[in-house]
Subunit: 85 residues, 2 copies
């Protein structure tokens, strides 16, 4: 329960776990645990992560699972399944 997009934002910003960890002042392993969803961070850490990524907390954390990226970015209407046969 509760999903996050830490890994997506981190890789998008070209950061390693170690680097991100330094930016939000936690242990690098902690980032790993968070990305795997092994635990739920405090609002404090959530606010720091959102600040580093330059987005809202809601953009990084959600009570419901996040839809796959394709639905958010520019994915074709529906095709890629039996396209022009």
């Amino acid at each position: 329960m509760i999903s996050n997009r830490i890994q997506i934002f981190r890789t998008d910003r070209g950061l390693s776990r170690k680097e991100l960890a330094a930016l939000v002042d936690v242990n690098p392993q902690t980032i790993g645990f968070l990305e795997r969803g092994s635990y739920t961070p405090s609002v404090e850490l959530a606010l720091q992560l959102a600040r580093v990524f330059g987005v809202s907390v809601e953009a990084v954390f959600s009570l419901e699972p996040f839809p796959p990226l394709a639905a958010q970015i520019g994915a074709p209407a529906s095709p890629p399944k039996g396209d022009t046969p």
Copy 2:
């Protein structure tokens, strides 16, 4: 470190601690601890509180202390201190 406006939003919405606690599914005392700043909630609880209040997480929780309400709402330019003597 980390301040919140839980009490302000709660009273503004006309909720008791018990009622708010029920809405976010925690113990009523937990609301008390949060309002006093005795501890920092998880993002999960923060998201639920923000959802109940109908605002963003950033509107309820901040890494820096919140300014007094007067600065946010319609407070007179500065007067109420030696007004028309």
